[in-house]
Amino acid sequence: MLRKVFGDATWFVRDDLRPLQRRVVAMMLFVGVAFLLLLGRLWVLQVLQTEKWRRAAENNRLRRIPLEAPRGTVTDVRGEILLDNRPSYQLLLFPEEMKDPAATEAFLIRIGIADAAEVRARVARARRTSHLPSIIADNLRWPQVAAVAAHQAEFSELQVHPATRRFLPEGPSVAHLVGQLGEVSPEQLAANPALRPGQLVGRSGLERAYQDVLGGTPGNLVVVVDALGKQVSSLDEEPPVLGHPLQVTIDLQLQREAAAAMAGQVGAVVALDPRDGAVRVLLSQPAFDPDLFAGHLEPARWRELNEDPLKPLHNRALQALYPPGSTIKPIYAAGALHSGERTPADGASCSGAVTIFGHPYRCWLKGGHGGVNLYSAIEASCDTYFYRLAQDVGIEKLAAWATLFGLGEATGIELAGESSGLVPSDAWSRRVRGHPWYGGETISVGIGQGPILATPMQLAVAYAALVNGGYRVTPHLAARSSKPPKPLGLQPETLAAVRRGMELVVHGERGTARRWSRLPASFAGKTGTSQVVRKVEGVKWYELPWEQRHHALFVGYAPPEAPTLVVAVVVEHGGDAAAVAAPIAARIFQRALAPGFDTSTILPVLPEGVTPGPGASAAVATRPAPSPVAAAREPSVEGT
C-alpha cells in the first residue's frame, strides 16, 4: 500500500534531476509538518475543547427569556373586576449581543423610549447583568414596536416581548387601595428564594399585602435565534403560573359613589361593615394615575408626584392623622357612662363660654346651648358639656377611653404603612415633649382638638365598636384575613344611650346634621370640625382661603337600628362638617341602602360662588398645606 502511494522509489537515478528531487522531498517535509500542526490544532479544538465550544455555540443561539407570570385578578364583593391585566409590549435588551452601545442608545432615544440620560442609565444598568436580558422599556406604543421590528437585523440585541400589564378599570379611585408594583428589592430576593431578579412585586396596597396570592410563578422560554437575532424556533418552555384571583370585601358601587362625592376634594373615605370589619370603601384623594406604576419602570414623574404639596401618593385613609374634633365626643360619652363618671341624665349648663384654669373656652354656639344632658350634648355637639367632663376626669381617663376604642394603635388592616395615631397623656408629654402635661390641654383634648390624632380608618373602627354591641373589629379587605371581633365589655345601655345621641345628630331638632334627616335611607352619626388656624370672630369659614379652612369630618352608620355600614369621611379644609362631610357619607348610605335613589341630588351646602376643594387656585399648589400635627399644636378652643 505504502509502496503504491509513494511509488517504487525509482527516483534519484538521474544525476541531473537529483538536486531538484532533493528539494522536492524537503518541500514535502515542510508541508507534512504544517499538516501535522493543523491536525493537532483540529484535535485540540474538536476533541479536547469540545465542551467549551459547544457551550459557546449554545450561548450563540439560545436565548433564555424570562416569562412574567400574569398577576392574579382582584374582584370586589360582588365579583366585579377591580384589578385586571391587559396585554402590552416590553422591549428586552440582550446586553451580550450588543455590538455598539452608542448606536443602540441613539436608536432607543430616536424611537422615543425615554430621554437621553434615562436611556443611557437603563442601558448601563442592563450591562451590569450581562447574562440576562433586561427590560429596557415597558408598555411600548405601536410605532415603537414597528420601529424595533424594522431594525431587527441592525439591532439584534433588542427584542419586543409580549407581556401583561396591570389594568385598573376604575382608574385613580382605587389607586391607593390596589397600590403600586415595583421590581423586587435585593433584600426581598434574599428573603424569598421563589422570587427572581427583576420580577415585579407589590410595593404597597393590596398588591403588597397579597403578593403571595396574586404573584404567581414566573417561567422561562428558551428560544433559538439566528445571527440576526431573529427567533427561529422555541426549544423549551417552562410556562409561568398565573397568580391566584382574589376577592376583596370592597364594594365597587360604594367606592364609586365615594369617589364621585369626593370629587375635587382632598381627604379620605372609609366604609366598613361594623359586624365583622369588612372594608367596603377605601378612598384617598387626590389619587394618582395607577398606570404609571403598573409596569417595570417608574417614570420620572414619580418625583413630581412625590413633591406635589397635596401628596397624591399618600394613602390618607390609613396614613393621614387628623384631630378627630367633635367625632370623638360619642367615644368619650361611652367612656363616661361605662366608668360611671356620668349618667345619661346628668346635666350641664352651656352659656356659650366657660372659664377653666383662668382661661376662657368657648362653645361653638355663641349664645350657648342652655341646659344639656348626654343626648343633647351629642346631638348639638355642645362643647361646654365635654369641657366639663374633661375637667372632671382628667387626661388619663380620656386617654384610656380613646385607647379602649382603638385610637392610638394600628387597626391591623392588611395594608402596610398604617399610622397608629396619637392619644396623649402625661407620660407621652414628658417622653416626647420633655415637659409635663398641662391641665389646659385636657380641655382641648376633651373636644378632640390638641395633640389627639387619628386616621379615618381608626375612627371607622371606633364607631363600629359603638354600634355593633361593643366589639373591636379588625378591618380587613379579604375574608381570609378576618379576625373574630374582640368584646370591650361595654354595657348595652351605655351603647344605646350614645347611639340615641348620634341618631339625634341627624334626626333631632337641634341636630348638627339635621338637614339630612329626610333621605330615604336613614342614618346616624357625628359631625366634627378640626381647626387648622385659630378661628377669627365674625369670619365665615368660606371666606377663608382654602388652606385655612377647618377639616370637615363625619362618621356615621346606617341603618340606625341595626347598622350594617359605618362610614368615616374626612374632607381636608372642607370648612363645615354638616354642609360638606355629612352629604358625602349620606350619598354612600343611600347608595348602599336605598337602591334606585338618585344620589347626585345630595349636594354639599355651599354659599354662592364657593367651590369645594383646593380647585385650580395656584395659591394652593404653591403654599403647602399645614400638616395635621402642626394644626393640632394650635390651641383650639371650639368644635362642632
Binding site: K4, T50, R54, D226
Partner: protein, 358 residues
C-alpha cells in the same frame, strides 16, 4: 487512461464529495438551493478539464508557455480597464450571465512559465538572470492582480515564486536576504499599503479578545463552529453555527468550518487526509517526472495548493489572521475549481508521460 494516477483522482473525488455535502449545508443555511447545483456543475466540468489536460502533453504546453503567459498578462491588464467594480475590486470578467476570475487562470499560466524557465535551465543553482526572469514571470501577473486590487489573490502567487526559487536552487545567503526583504516589505506594506480593515485583521489575530464583536467576530464564530463539532459532528444540516448564519463567508473562506461542525473531527480528518493524499501524489509525481519542467510543474503546483490549504485551515482554526484565501476545490466558485482542475490535469500529464521512452 490506465496510465493516469488514480490515487490523485481518488483524492479529488473525496474532496469533491465533501465539497458537495458542505455546499448543500450552506445552501440550506443561506436559502440558496440553486448554488449547490452550480457548484456540482463546476466540479463536473472541472473533472472534465482535469481529464482533458491529463491527456494533453505538458511538454507542448510548456513550449507555448511564453505565449500563454503573455496572453494572461494582456487579460489581466485589460481587466483593470473593462472589468466592473465589484466589492471594491476589478477582478471579474463578465460574459453575459457568467463571471470569470482571470487571476485564477493567470496563476496557471505563471506556473507554466516557471516550469518553462526551469526546463531551460540545466545548472543545480540559479543565476542572477534566472532569478530575475522568474521574478518577472510570477511577479508581473501578481502585480496586476494586486492592482485590481485583490491583495489576497496576489498573495497566492508568492508561494509559486518561493517554490520556483527553492526548486531552482538558491544559495543560503540569498534566502537570508529574501527573508530580510520580505520582512521589510511587510513592514512597508503595514505602513503604506494595508488598509485599516486589513491591519485590524492582523491585530485581531495577535490579540483575539481585542474586539470580539468586530473583526474578531468571524474568527471566533469559525472556532466555535469547528470546536463545537466535537469528535463526530452535529450531523448534516444540523450545524447551528452555519444553519443560523453565525458563520461568516461560509460558502467561500469558511467552508471548512461548515464541514468540520457537521462532521466533527472524523469528517475533518477525512477531508484533511484527502488533501494530504492529493499533495503527496503531486510531490510524488514531481519526483517521477522525466524532466525538470515536469518536476517543477508538479512540485510548484503542489506547493501552491498546499500553502492555500494550510493558510485557509490555519485561518479557520484561528491560527492565522483572516486573509480571504479560499480552500481549493471546497470553496464555492467556478474559476477557482477549474483553475485547480487544470493544474491537476497538468500534473496528471506529467505522471502519464513520466517514462522517458514513451
Amino acid at each position: 487512461m490506465r496510465r493516469l494516477d488514480w490515487w490523485l483522482v481518488l483524492a479529488v473525488g473525496v474532496i469533491a464529495a465533501c465539497a458537495t455535502l458542505a455546499q448543500r449545508s450552506t445552501a440550506l443555511a443561506l436559502a440558496a438551493p440553486g448554488s449547490v447545483n452550480r457548484q456540482l456543475l463546476w466540479l463536473a466540468i472541472g473533472l472534465g478539464l482535469m481529464l482533458a489536460f491529463s491527456l494533453a502533453d505538458y511538454r507542448v504546453l510548456v513550449r507555448f508557455a511564453p505565449l500563454v503567459w503573455g496572453a494572461s498578462l494582456l487579460v489581466l491588464a485589460a481587466l483593470l480597464v473593462v472589468a466592473p467594480l465589484r466589492a471594491g475590486t476589478r477582478s471579474w470578467l463578465v460574459l453575459g450571465p457568467y463571471t470569470i476570475q482571470p487571476s485564477e487562470f493567470a496563476r496557471v499560466a505563471a506556473l507554466l512559465a516557471a516550469a518553462a524557465l526551469a526546463g531551460e535551465h540545466r545548472e543545480p543553482m540559479l543565476d542572477r538572470q534566472r532569478i530575475a526572469r522568474l521574478c518577472v514571470a510570477v511577479g508581473a501577473p501578481a502585480a496586476l492582480v494586486a492592482a485590481q486590487p485583490d491583495l489576497g489573490m496576489a498573495l497566492t502567487y508568492v508561494p509559486l515564486l518561493l517554490a520556483a526559487l527553492w526548486l531552482g536552487g538558491l544559495p543560503w545567503r540569498v534566502w537570508a536576504g529574501l527573508v530580510l526583504t520580505g520582512a521589510m516589505l511587510a513592514g512597508g506594506a503595514w505602513a503604506f499599503y494595508l488598509k485599516p480593515y486589513q491591519k485590524e485583521r492582523v491585530l485581531t489575530f495577535v490579540d483575539s479578545e481585542r474586539d470580539p464583536y468586530g473583526a474578531g467576530y468571524q474568527q471566533r464564530q469559525s472556532k466555535i463552529a469547528v470546536g463545537s463539532g466535537g469528535l463526530s459532528g452535529k450531523g448534516f444540516h444540523s450545524g447551528t453555527q452555519s444553519q443560523l448564519r453565525f458563520l461568516p463567508a461560509q460558502r467561500t473562506d469558511f467552508i471548512f468550518a461548515v464541514w468540520a461542525e457537521e462532521t466533527g473531527f472524523v469528517g475533518s480528518g477525512i477531508l484533511v487526509g484527502a488533501y494530504v493524499l492529493l499533495l503527496l501524489r503531486m510531490f510524488v509525481v514531481s519526483l517521477y517526472a522525466r524532466d525538470r519542467a515536469g518536476a517543477m510543474l508538479a512540485a510548484g503546483a503542489g506547493f501552491v495548493v498546499a500553502v492555500q490549504v494550510i493558510v485557509n485551515l490555519a485561518m479557520v482554526t484561528g491560527m492565522a489572521p483572516t486573509t480571504g484565501i479560499t480552500l481549493p476545490l471546497l470553496s464555492w466558485g467556478g474559476s477557482s475549481v477549474w483553475a485547480t482542475a487544470i493544474t491537476l490535469g497538468l500534473v496528471q500529464s506529467v505522471w502519464r508521460l513520466r517514462f522517458a521512452n514513451v
